[in-house]
């Protein structure tokens, strides 16, 4: 295929509507905000018929565009970065024609959409990629509804703004009502070239971290906790050669955090009429940034996660991992402005927008919280172990484990750790703990903790009778914690435990098989991998048997969060909600956490499976999953 006539793509919005194409598809004129970031959003009275039978054309270019008032060279999609909102309707057949006007190959992956492998858009796995000058046509049936997004799966292009939102209208009425909706897409923009960022991460640890602990912090801690405790805690981190402030690899020192392409000073504003129910479709389309989102003065009701409806959860704040989406309903009653405040998890910056009845209004911007220190929970699955779940143990299998050496780690000196739960930690009662998984853990990453005495006990084996019932939470999960830097006493924060499917998903089979994958890394060298091996070091894909019901257990052996994404199939997050476990396309795994998901391996073909932190993926935290 060759490049289409470009004028084809410069259709006016009116023509697009006439042609029955998606509303909100930006024209190819340069503008600061994407066309879909219209302040009035799309009201509920939005003419739904318009998206049916559409034929969407997108042109990918690298061009000069102002971001936060400064000329720079993002990758644009039909002239904007982030790209246009793609609006489709459940049940339609999508035709998306993508023209690559870059001088390098590109691709678009439709994140969270269930579709045939050839149109998944991951180069090297399901197709060759889109060569410069080529137009590639994606055709697939739209089998779901909700809030999703799309992004390049080629190299580091996503960091250049090659991404945009997808909204799929439901074929049947959704289980919640609203009067007006707005898409709130969060991204992290940098004026540096992504390759330079990657090199900086590779060559100098902590390159972007300007919130490391200093002598001043030491003195402050000393005043609070005494010299002994402070020195002991710091010595432990120093001995492990790690930083308790390792919260984000790339920070506000280079990032400008954007809402719908607008910097905090630009203050993207979404309008409402007082008393209206607003649906806000939050998408974390950033490359590397976890956001904590709140709207001071408004309670949000979470109604969908990763595009899928959940039982409503009223919250004041939620953490959104990279690539996740959350739909919330808010009802601003007063004739006043509200700030949508999305703080980066490491507190080095924030994205901001305003909800207001009229343009030009604004509300106060909250103070950023201070960076938190990581504590015990970051140091391995032990810390986060849910001891209460461990019943029916066989003490003999623990014989080889030297608990005294674990005790030798001074837990009391670890700030941020839940002492109460550790105090009652009775190692003699750790049954049900899967020792085989500990054996497979990369102990080298946990210096300072003496694992040498832990024996490689053979596990009871994953024979079918021993599997947890479907929907139970894994021992070691932290589903009732929001994570680092969040004080649950401060306000009501969404945690994974809160997510309950609106109704049970179709396949309620028990898992036939368990597969455990460890998330591994070496911060010193910026090496990221699964089971200690980066993509280039493994031979062959991970195999799923066609139509099997599989339990995927993810164990995070690193000190950082990883949002793990599986293409082509849903992951039903076993968060203890039984048959109402939520299904997700991206699961955040906290440091030291052990989580599991049920998968119905019905999507024959090869699929990408990776950490959605862009530079982790690029460093090798990536696998191919083959369903056959």
């Amino acid at each position: 295929m060759t490049a289409k006539n470009i004028t084809d793509l410069s259709l006016s919005r009116r023509q697009l509507l006439k042609g029955g194409a998606a509303l909100g598809l930006g024209a190819a004129t340069l503008r600061l905000a994407p066309a879909w970031a219209d302040p009035w959003g799309q009201s509920n009275a939005y003419p739904q018929g318009m998206v049916e039978g559409n034929d969407i054309a997108l042109a990918i270019r690298r061009e000069t565009l102002a971001i936060n008032g400064r000329n720079t060279r993002p990758i644009t999609i039909n002239g904007t970065s982030p790209g246009p909102l793609i609006r489709m309707r459940e049940g339609q057949n999508a035709t998306l024609r993508i023209t690559n006007l870059l001088d390098e190959p590109t691709s678009i992956h439709w994140h969270g959409l269930i579709l045939p492998p050839q149109v998944d858009g991951a180069p090297g796995i399901s197709f060759a990629g889109i060569a410069p000058g080529e137009t590639f046509t994606y055709r697939f049936p739209v089998v779901q509804n909700g809030t999703y997004w799309y992004h390049s799966h080629s190299g580091l292009q996503e960091q250049l703004g090659h991404a945009g939102p997808i909204v799929i209208d439901a074929a049947e009425r959704e289980p919640f009502r609203y009067d007006r909706e707005h898409v709130v897409m969060l991204t992290d923009w940098t004026y540096e070239e992504p390759a330079a960022i990657f090199r900086n991460l590779k060559t100098a640890e902590g390159y972007y971290n300007f919130q490391e602990r200093t002598v001043t912090d030491f003195l402050a801690d000393m005043r609070e906790n005494g010299f002994r405790e402070t020195a002991r805690s710091r010595a432990m981190w120093a001995q492990m050669r790690m930083s308790s402030r390792d919260i984000a690899d790339v920070t506000g020192s280079t990032y400008t955090y954007l809402v719908n392409g607008q910097a905090p000073e630009q203050n993207w504003t979404a309008l409402f009429k007082p008393g209206e129910r607003l649906r806000l479709r939050f998408i974390n389309g950033s490359a590397m940034t976890y956001f904590d989102v709140r709207i001071p003065g408004l309670r949000m009701t979470v109604v969908a996660a990763d595009g899928q409806p959940v039982q409503p959860v009223p919250v004041d704040e939620f953490r959104i991992a990279i690539a996740e989406t959350y739909d919330v309903i808010v009802t601003p009653e007063a004739d006043m402005a509200y700030t949508v405040f999305a703080e980066s998890m490491d507190r080095s910056g924030f994205a901001r927008a305003t909800l207001a009845p009229r343009l030009g209004m604004e509300a106060g911007v909250p103070e950023r919280r201070r960076i938190a220190d990581r504590g015990m929970e970051a140091m391995g699955a032990h810390g986060g172990m849910d001891h209460s779940d461990m019943a029916g143990m066989d003490p003999s299998s623990l014989a080889g484990m030297d608990h005294s050496s674990m005790a030798g780690m001074d837990h009391s000196s670890m700030t941020g750790m839940d002492h109460s739960s550790m105090a009652g930690m009775d190692h003699s009662s750790m049954a049900g703990m899967d020792h085989s998984s500990m054996a497979g853990m990369d102990h080298t990453n946990m210096a300072g903790m003496d694992h040498s005495d832990m024996q490689d006990d053979t596990s009871p084996g994953a024979s079918e009778g021993d599997l947890l019932p479907a929907g139970d939470a894994q021992p070691g999960s932290q589903y009732d914690q929001a994570g680092i830097g969040i004080d649950p006493d401060e306000r009501r924060i969404l945690v994974y435990r809160d997510l309950k499917a609106f109704r049970p998903w179709p396949d309620r089979r028990e898992p036939e098989r368990e597969m455990e994958i460890h998330l591994t890394g070496n911060m010193e060298r910026y090496m990221w991998s699964f089971d200690g091996k980066k993509f280039s070091e493994v031979n062959g894909p991970i195999h799923f048997r066609k139509d099997e019901r599989l339990r995927l257990i993810l164990v995070n052996d690193t000190m950082m969060e990883h949002p793990i994404h599986l293409h082509g199939m849903w992951m039903e997050l076993e968060n203890g909600a039984g048959e109402l476990i939520p299904r997700k396309h991206t699961i955040n795994v906290k440091p030291g956490e052990r989580v599991s998901a049920l998968i119905t391996a019905d999507a024959e073909g090869s699929w990408a499976f990776h950490c959605h932190l862009l530079y982790h993926m690029d460093a090798g935290m990536f696998r191919v999953v083959k369903v056959s």
Partner: protein, 257 residues
Amino acid sequence: MKTRIVPMASCAAFTLLAITVAHAEDGYDAQGDWPSPMAEHYAWAAGFDRLEYLFPGKGVEEALLWDFEAWYGGDHNRVYLKSEGENVQGDGAGAEFEALDLRYSRLISDFWELQGGVGYQGNVGSNDHPERFYGVIGLQGTAPYLIETSLDLKVSEDGDAWVQLEAEHDVRLTQHLYLQPRAELVASGSDVEEFHLGSGLNSLNGGLRLRYEITRKIAPYVGAYWEKSYGDTADMARTHGEPTENTGLVAGIRILF
């Protein structure tokens, strides 16, 4: 003959690097002409850890000193070029390489790499210093308590062996200001009259530098050092009318490219 060692070693090192470029192909559906889903990246780094001017006490000439390091490679295998040397001002002689090493390096644990290669000690451009070639085995990495460490064992073409140990640690005063104590120790297995080295402990050097990172890549610093030679080495220094102990100031810059 000696000069052949360096190109030969570099060929060997690059061959080792090339061997590690493997691609996962078995069992994938991908067509042969498709790109790899995740390309393997090689990186490089280069910079002067120290580029400084020494203001020593009396009896010792001022000098310009450099400590340069560059590497290229992947996560596990790298090729290093290391150079340390000085140009003593007013001695009428040219600059001198204390070390010019080409090394192959392999990551052997999370924090340690094992290095091996060849090196040269002698002249830069001129011909007024004694010179020798040597083989080197080194261990480089981060010790517990975040101590950046390098330990080198060197054996010259004449069979003389000596070890060098360097350790430094960064104390973060603010997000841009660092205090860096560092220590250097040299010990030799035999007397090498030419280089004024006696057997046993040769010298100890301790320093303290205050560095301001304007950016991560450019950081000027000031500091002080203390240096003392011991045993036979001290005797040799006395014979040559050189002091055996010296305290001085430094001003310099750290640059990363």
